[in-house]
Each structure stands twice: as C-alpha cells, then as structure tokens.
Symmetry: C2
Subunit: 240 residues, 2 copies
Amino acid sequence: MPIHKKIRAYFSPEKKLLASLRNILGFYPTNIGLYKLALRHSSAAKQIKKGVKDSNERLEFLGDSVIGTVVADYLFKKFPYKDEGFLTKMRSKMVSRAKHNQIAVKLGLNTMIQANNDRFGSKPSSINGDAYEALIGAIYLDKGYKFAQKFILNRIINVHIDMEEIEFVETDFKSKFIEWAQKEKKDYDYETVVDGTHSPDKQFVLNLVVDGEVVGHAQHISKKRAEQMVSEQACSKLEI
Amino acid sequence: MPIHKKIRAYFSPEKKLLASLRNILGFYPTNIGLYKLALRHSSAAKQIKKGVKDSNERLEFLGDSVIGTVVADYLFKKFPYKDEGFLTKMRSKMVSRAKHNQIAVKLGLNTMIQANNDRFGSKPSSINGDAYEALIGAIYLDKGYKFAQKFILNRIINVHIDMEEIEFVETDFKSKFIEWAQKEKKDYDYETVVDGTHSPDKQFVLNLVVDGEVVGHAQHISKKRAEQMVSEQACSKLEI
C-alpha cells in the first residue's frame, strides 16, 4: 500500500472500520462507502427515496449471485466427471443460509453490523449471512469479479468450508428440492392441507405440488419434518 | 486477429462452425471444444464416465449462473433507486426459460444444436435456451467473466431484450394462454375443483385442463389470482 494511502487510513475517522476490513479482506477497500453499506441492516437504514433505504439489501441481491457463480465455477473445475445434478446439490449446500451465517460469524462480521436491536426480540442470525452476501457484492463493485472470486476461494472456501463434509454428509431434502425447482423454473407449493396448530392431535398434513401435480404427501406433528418428508418423496419421484 | 490464426481457421475442418460462431459472438473462440460441447444436447452425447456424458448440461449449470450475475449487476446499476424486490422480479423476467429460448433462436443457435431428433416427438424448445446458457458458460471459461459480461450486455441485453416491456408489461398469463388456445384450436377448461365462496378458508382450487390433460393446478383465496397461476403454469409447461 502506498504511503499516502496509509497516512490517509491512519487519520481517517473510519480508522477502526478500515483496520477491521483490512483484517477480514486482506486488502484495503477503495470505496469504503460500499462496505459501510454492506454492513447496514435495513433496521438501521434511512429512507433515501420513496421505497428505497440505504440498507445492504441491494448489495445482498448482487453478492448472492456473485457467490453462486464463483462456487459454480469452483465446482465445475473441481469435479470434472460429475454431472450437473451433483454440482447443483453441492452448490446448494455450500451457499445455504446456514452456511452463510456461519461464515459471517467466522469472519467476525457479526460484531460489525449496524442494526437497530430494538426491533428484534432476539437478533435473527440471517442478518449475519445477509451481511456476508452484501460484503461480496461490495467487493465485486469495488474491485471487480476476479478479485471477489479470489477472496471467496482463498479466504472462504479454502479456509471455512469443509468440502468432505459438504460432499458426504446427508442432505436437507427441502433445500435440495427447492434448488432443483428454481433451476428448472418449476412452480411449486408446500400446500398445507391440515394446519395442526390448533387441532387436538397437532398433526400437519402437507402436499408438495409441482406444476399442478401432487408429488409428495405427508403427515407429521412437526411441520418441518413433514416438509422434509414430502421433499424427500418429491426428490425420489422426480429423480432429483 | 493475427494472420496465422486466420489461416488456421480457414483450413480447419470446423470452418463452418467457426464462421457461424464468429458471427454470433463477434470474436473467434480460443478453445473451440468448449463451444462444440455447449451445442451438444444430452440426446446426442456419449457417456464419458459412469454417470457423466459429454453434453452441454454442466456448461448450462455454469452459464445460467453467469447470466444471473451479469443481469444482477446490470439491474443494480440501471436502477439505483429500486429495492431488491424490484431487482429480483426484473431479473426473473429477463432470465426466464421463455426468454432464453427466444434469445437462442434470435442468435441462430437452434440451427446449430447437435441433438438426436429420434428421441423427441417434437423437439422441445427448451433445448434452445439450454444451449444459450451453455454457450455463456463456454465463453466464460474460454475468455473470462469480463468478456462474457460484455457479450451479454452488448449482444443480448442491448439488442434482444426490450427493457420497457420487461419493466412495464405486467404479464397477463390468462389472456396469453387463451389467445394461444384459440389460435391452436385447443379445447380448454378452467375447472373449479373447490369453490371457496362459501367455505371457511375461502380458498379456490383450480385446474386448467387442455385436451383432457391437467396443465395447471393452483389454490388461492382470489379466484382471479388462481386463474393467473394455472395459466402461468400452462404457459411454462406448454412453452407458450
């Protein structure tokens, strides 16, 4: 880093933020405003124009897509003899909401996020994953695709993602199904046939409907479990 | 293009393919094998290893993601004051299956695809959209992200996508479907499976039946909305 930039960084009111970002990123940001925006949850944002706030949601939209592409490229090259079904499944595990929340905490982003805590009973952990995605959006805009790609490969995938675990640990069928449906642009609906919340036996009955056809039907006292069951049936029936 | 490359291109057995690609892309491919692969549908592919064929499906997985990122970046910059909900909706219209099929035909890819026609009653038009996505995957691997981005912006979005239409035309799927059905002289019926008028949850369940086959199934509290939903499913399923 040239000396004049160092001096500017040293005297900047954003000194602490810059130092933290330098630690996380391995480089100094050029446009610090982008990174500040990436760390601002909508609960702490101001309205800047009708319908738009200066929160990280737009950057999250962009960053999420950049991560998807970088991971697609990584998997394409790492597994030259695997079909696109395998690649899709691996990617959906690598970029899951849960994984992004974990990564954000490992990077230390959770301590840097600007959010209005009064709005939450307890802060939802998705705030962390959202900030991670927005951070990637900021890097992409600030430094370009190649730079963002290097960051994701060297500082995320190689360090924070256990590829063995990703490859061999059993799947979340709901994510697997949804990833497939989105890729194939299918219309799907987890249709609640019976909502057990207030019924005496508390049983949920669900249908999973794809393009008008019921491809899964299950009953369980846990709605989440029922969702997994119908998703697993769908995966088997549709050979996902 | 350097003279030795021109000469090689001229004498190459792939002369015709190279010339067509040059026309479509605006540049000569470096790794022609990637583009050949992008144009090979799985019906015409050989098995190269257990579970994997040398078809365009892996490239399609990659290209689909690259297109999503390029379009996200484009929309992010074009609409600085729109929220991520708007951006998401716009992108989904720009990268729809129908749009990709159209683009492929406009580029002339449909005449270049290697497919085994014996396998189809009539060739599904999604083959075209898949080849377009795979082509973008090939460009990305051959020339890098920036190059693929330029191609998508200059040769696709600026030329083949009407942004006014994307932004302002709210797609009325019911009209679109009925117009098609009348033109094609198809028998159709918006069949009310459950009339929610007098039921406690007020839900309507509809089937859209075309020539005896259910091509759409939806449930909604608004009958009009349910009609739109089944029509949209039909348009997607029948590739209208």
